[in-house]
């Protein structure tokens, strides 16, 4: 292939000193005098004559290509500027990977380094943010039955336990330290764990027959840290009891 190429080059070499005058002559940009002068030279110089012929063929080939490519548009004479339609889509859409690759390849070194540093900082901040939010304590909301008293947290230092029944009931304030001692488990889980034990206590508190006078119970259960309900009162639910300190 190389030999063939070299042979081609040798064949077309034109050593004539006026060979470059051929170009203005060929493109009709020589003055009349220059053109006449070069025509005279062509008759005497076979090298330039051959080259003129060869260049003419090259120009013909390019012209053919031009006609094929742009020929149709030569006929079209649309004077308007056509706004690009918004729905026009490039047939070759670049993927994000290609775009990144192009950016990396074309960017200067300092820009690549800066991008890498920014990316690292961003990743570090993201990790710190995730770690911070994971360690945040959960705010526990104790679900209560519709008829049961509610347990609510208040923004004060002490948490108020509402053991309010349908009729209003009474309130007991639990020191924050007591609640904090139960922090390892969630409030709900602690309630569930306390349920069997409290149910036992509930049996002691609640008379087998609610219709019996409560005075008897209060006489025997004075050690309890809460008021024993009377027969007219509705009993607090197990969930409410579970919230009470042991």
């Amino acid at each position: 292939m190389k030999e063939s190429w070299d042979k081609t080059m040798r064949e077309i070499t034109n050593s004539c000193s006026r060979s470059e005058d051929l170009v203005p002559y060929l493109y009709n940009e020589a003055t009349r005098a220059e053109a006449l002068d070069f025509e005279n030279h062509l008759q005497a110089c076979p090298g330039c004559r051959a080259e003129a012929k060869a260049f003419g063929m090259v120009r013909e080939s390019i012209g053919e290509w031009r006609r094929q490519a742009l020929g149709a548009s030569d006929v079209a004479e649309s004077a308007t500027v056509v706004p690009m339609r918004s729905d026009d889509k490039s047939p070759r859409r670049r993927s994000a990977l290609v775009a990144i690759r192009e950016f990396v390849t074309l960017s200067p070194g300092w820009m690549r380094a800066a991008t890498a540093v920014i990316a690292l900082i961003f990743c570090g901040l993201a990790i710190i943010a995730v770690a911070y939010f994971v360690e945040q304590p959960h705010i526990v909301v104790v679900e209560k039955p519709e008829t049961a008293p509610a347990v609510a947290t208040e923004p004060s230092n002490d948490t108020v336990l509402q053991s309010k029944g349908v009729d209003g009931g009474d309130r007991k304030t639990i020191p924050e330290s007591v609640i904090a001692s139960e922090q390892p488990a969630t409030q709900k889980t602690a309630n569930r764990r306390a349920l069997p034990r409290l149910a036992e206590r509930h049996k002691q508190i609640v008379p087998q027959k609610v219709s019996e006078p409560a005075t008897e119970l209060s006489a025997t259960n004075d050690y309890l840290p809460f008021t024993v309900p009377t027969a007219e009162d509705k009993l607090p639910s197990l969930v409410d009891l579970a919230d009470e300190p042991n």
Partner: protein, 212 residues
């Protein structure tokens, strides 16, 4: 706002500089209007030059799709840098310079991305080419083959030679206009064109001998 090269035909018949001189308002005056806030003025520049810029881009890039994009980018770049246009050069030279730079940048990017180019693909230009009815299929095929060869040969030229050939053959600019657009001495333009034609002749002959 975006413009596209439409049908690559402008209202201005760009066949020669003489016809362009008939234009009532010069390009420089239109640019002045655009600079003074006339929103339609730059559109007029686009409509005047889009066809020629497209032809230049097509010759440089060899693919219609790329040429269309490059034309678009040329006018966008020109619009953005309108305020920096000092009027030292002609508007045409300014636009051509932007277009050439756009094409070169585009080729460099394509090379980096490893996209297929004219050299290793045969674009279906022939599909849109309607051959004259009197031509035989063999003749059509021969023309097509010759066109493909010349496309490849032009593409293989170094950029500094290719742009001169394309400006001359596709846009039919004068040597003086090419020199102004590329900011080169007139003699350099002539010698580059001569070198380009010689290299094209060599390559075409070489391709013909390989086929044979």
């Amino acid at each position: 706002m975006r413009w596209c090269a439409g049908e690559y035909g402008s209202g201005l018949a760009p066949r020669g500089r003489h016809e362009r001189m008939e234009t009532v308002t010069s390009d420089e005056q239109v640019v002045e209007r655009a600079l003074s806030g006339d929103a339609e003025a730059f559109g007029e520049i686009v409509s005047r030059w889009q066809r020629r810029i497209f032809a230049l881009a097509y010759g440089m890039l060899g693919r219609e799709e790329d040429a269309r994009d490059a034309t678009q980018e040329t006018f966008l770049a020109a619009f953005r840098s309108l305020r920096s246009f000092r009027g030292d050069a002609k508007v045409s030279s300014w636009l051509h310079r932007i277009a050439v730079n756009q094409c070169i940048t585009r080729q460099r990017r394509a090379k980096v991305r490893g996209e297929t180019t004219l050299e290793d693909e045969t674009e279906a230009d022939g599909a849109s080419y309607s051959a004259p009815a009197h031509e035989s299929p063999a003749r059509v095929a021969e023309n097509q083959e010759r066109t493909d060869s010349v496309r490849r040969a032009v593409r293989a030229l170094p950029p500094e030679l290719r742009q001169v050939v394309v400006m001359k053959e596709f846009e039919e600019l004068t040597f003086q206009e090419i020199a102004e657009a590329l900011d080169l001495p007139l003699s350099t333009v002539k010698s580059r064109l001569y070198t380009a034609l010689r290299q094209l002749q060599m390559r075409l002959k070489h391709m013909a001998s390989e086929i044979a």
